[in-house]
């Protein structure tokens, strides 16, 4: 199987995150592999391993779009077990919204499918920075592929995939023919950590760098110019400040109700 996993380099949510400069883009210092992408990678590795792994010709390609630092997300994916990395990077991509991002990623997936067919594109359920969840669906629409989103289990056999997903009022079993796009939740598996062997092995794995010219996308189709939305203003919210803190002296439940009554919340 040939599986592409989309990985993203995002600001670490443990620290303060900032919007800067033209179009209020996210400051990407202190960035890491998006936590939710680790589940996508694990799902891909399990599918590949069940079929004999890389020795049997199964490929798990970690694809990331982003500036130079994004290569760190790819390196981490290689350490965890991806067989190769692809870094789509171009100055013109800066400021791309979901529509422009999905356009560039769709072109990259088509490019990677020239040598041999891509069977699956697996993504996380959302990035941990933009959190729009738009890109997987837009990628599927652009590639005209069936798409299963928010999969909490995933099986592939006989050229079809079967997944479970949880909606608010029901649990569903879903089937689609390959190739397909799948986004997975954090319920699907327990991602592995890179081990020493993996870290050493990653040094020998190749990372291919692609530019917009390589994938046949014009600079005007992406970035701020090609985006269909624009952020026109961003204001840092004053941090929430602590209000009244009391220690329970046997009547805190009643004081809580007094507070709710005073706020007209009862």
């Amino acid at each position: 199987m040939k599986i592409i996993v989309l990985v993203k380099h995002v600001p670490d949510a443990q620290f303060d995150r900032h919007l800067n400069g033209e179009g209020y883009t996210t400051d990407r210092d202190e960035s890491i592999l998006s936590e939710l992408d680790e589940y996508a990678l694990e799902a891909a590795l399990q599918l590949a391993e069940a079929r004999g792994g890389s020795k049997a010709g199964n490929q798990v390609i970690a694809l990331s779009m982003g500036p130079s630092g994004a290569v760190n997300a790819i390196k981490k994916a290689l350490q965890i077990g991806a067989t190769e990395g692809v870094h789509l990077t171009d100055d013109a991509l800066s400021g791309s919204d979901a529509a422009a991002t999905s356009l560039a990623l769709a072109a990259a997936v088509r490019y990677l499918g020239q040598s041999s067919t891509v069977d699956l594109v697996i993504t996380g359920m959302a990035s941990t920075d933009g959190e729009t969840s738009l890109v997987p669906a837009q990628l599927a629409e652009r590639l005209d592929l069936p798409q299963v989103t928010f999969a909490s289990s995933l099986e592939v056999s006989g050229g079809r995939l079967t997944a479970r997903r949880d909606a608010d009022t029901s649990s569903e079993t879903v089937e689609a023919p390959l190739p397909a796009v799948v986004s997975v939740t954090d319920q699907i598996n327990e991602p592995r950590y890179p081990n020493f062997k993996g870290i050493i092995a990653a040094k020998r794995k190749s990372i291919t760098t692609l530019s917009l010219a390589d994938i046949g996308v014009e600079p005007a189709q992406v970035g701020f110019a090609g985006s269909w939305t624009a952020v026109t203003n961003a204001e840092e919210r004053p941090p929430r400040t602590a209000g009244t803190i009391i220690t329970d002296e046997g009547d805190a439940g009643i004081k809580l109700v007094d507070f709710l009554a005073a706020q007209k919340l009862l």
Binding site: S102, S133, V135, Q147, S170, R240, A242, G243
Partner: protein, 317 residues
């Protein structure tokens, strides 16, 4: 006047509050039409008239629910073209956002999710990076697609009810060809409590409950609230994963969020930072949740919650 299309998916016998909020917003932006999937019951038809809907669009195909997202998106895009909508409004559920994503590509339209307000000129407001920024954004395209978070618009009937006309829109042939098919569906048992994402009040429990969600559920029921949980509590199997609030669960912005026995790690805060009022109960005075709580109680949830529940019942008579 701008034409605004609202997508309403399987409303059943009555239109739920978050959809009424969409209809109210639509009316403030222009002439409202509805793209309906599912049955048009009498209750739903009455609500559409009450909320001033001009046109109700229905799909030519009946099997949209047999597939995942893609055919619904194709239908909504076709309905937008038929009604000449400049703005398409959807709810902010995961499925609402996915349909919006695909409608955007089909209509060459910018998509803005997690929106809390839309100005008359189409500027949408949302909060990003776990509530640390408020942003304004605009679609640069002739059509824009917006998903609205619940509880941010007050649902209000139109001053004068309308008499909506009904039109049928052809669902594009081929939209099911490349779609994933739903082969089995198990309905979940309804809790009788409000939906977590729509609820005006949320009571959420975490590690401090030590496996016993009883006090959280009883307080929630006394307040008419939804029950939420931290990831630690859902991972421990104390409560269904559906209840998870946070970065990898649901984002909520209720009027009141009561956090019980939750330390308030960043991922938790991310899911509830935009709640209007936050109350926290936790034994550990060092819990980060106290940094953002409007009212914090350092105390045992098993003492404080039942006492509050009893007091609320007493006052409500």
């Amino acid at each position: 006047m701008a034409k605004v299309l609202v997508f309403i998916d399987n409303p059943g016998a009555a239109v739920k509050k978050s959809y009424l909020e969409l209809l109210t917003l639509a009316r403030s932006l222009g002439e409202g039409a509805v793209a309906l999937n599912g049955e048009l019951s009498d209750g739903v038809a009455a609500a559409f008239a009450e909320y001033g809907v001009n046109t109700v669009v229905r799909p030519s195909a009946q099997d949209l629910d047999d597939f995942l997202v893609a055919p619904k998106a194709a239908y909504v895009a076709a309905a937008a073209e038929t009604t000449g909508a400049g703005i398409v409004l959807l709810d902010n559920s995961p499925e609402g956002k996915e349909i919006a994503a695909r409608v955007g590509i089909r209509l060459n339209a910018g998509v803005i999710t997690d929106v809390v307000a839309v100005d008359a000129d189409g500027t949408a407001h949302k909060s990003v990076l776990a509530g640390s920024y408020n942003t304004a954004c605009r679609a640069k395209t002739p059509v824009s697609v917006v998903t609205l978070k619940a509880n941010n618009v007050a649902a209000e009937p139109a001053p004068v009810p309308s008499t909506p006309e009904t039109v049928t829109v052809e669902v594009p042939a081929g939209s099911t060809a490349a779609a994933a098919r739903i082969t089995a569906r198990e309905q979940k048992v309804a809790s009788g409590r409000p939906d977590l994402t729509d609820a005006r009040i949320v009571v959420a429990g975490g590690r401090g409950l030590d496996g016993d969600f009883g006090p959280v559920e009883e307080l929630a029921d006394a307040l008419g609230a939804a029950v939420g949980a931290s990831r630690a509590a859902t991972d421990a199997g104390w409560i269904s994963h559906d209840a998870q609030v946070g970065q990898t669960g649901k984002t909520v912005s209720p009027q009141l969020y009561i956090s019980a026995g939750i330390s308030g790690a960043i991922q938790q805060k991310a899911g509830m930072q935009t709640s209007k009022v936050i109350v926290a109960v936790n034994k550990d005075a060092e819990s980060p949740v106290f940094e953002i709580a409007d009212f914090g109680i350092i105390g045992d949830v098993f003492d404080v919650l039942p006492q509050a529940t009893a007091e609320i019942k007493k006052r409500k008579g």
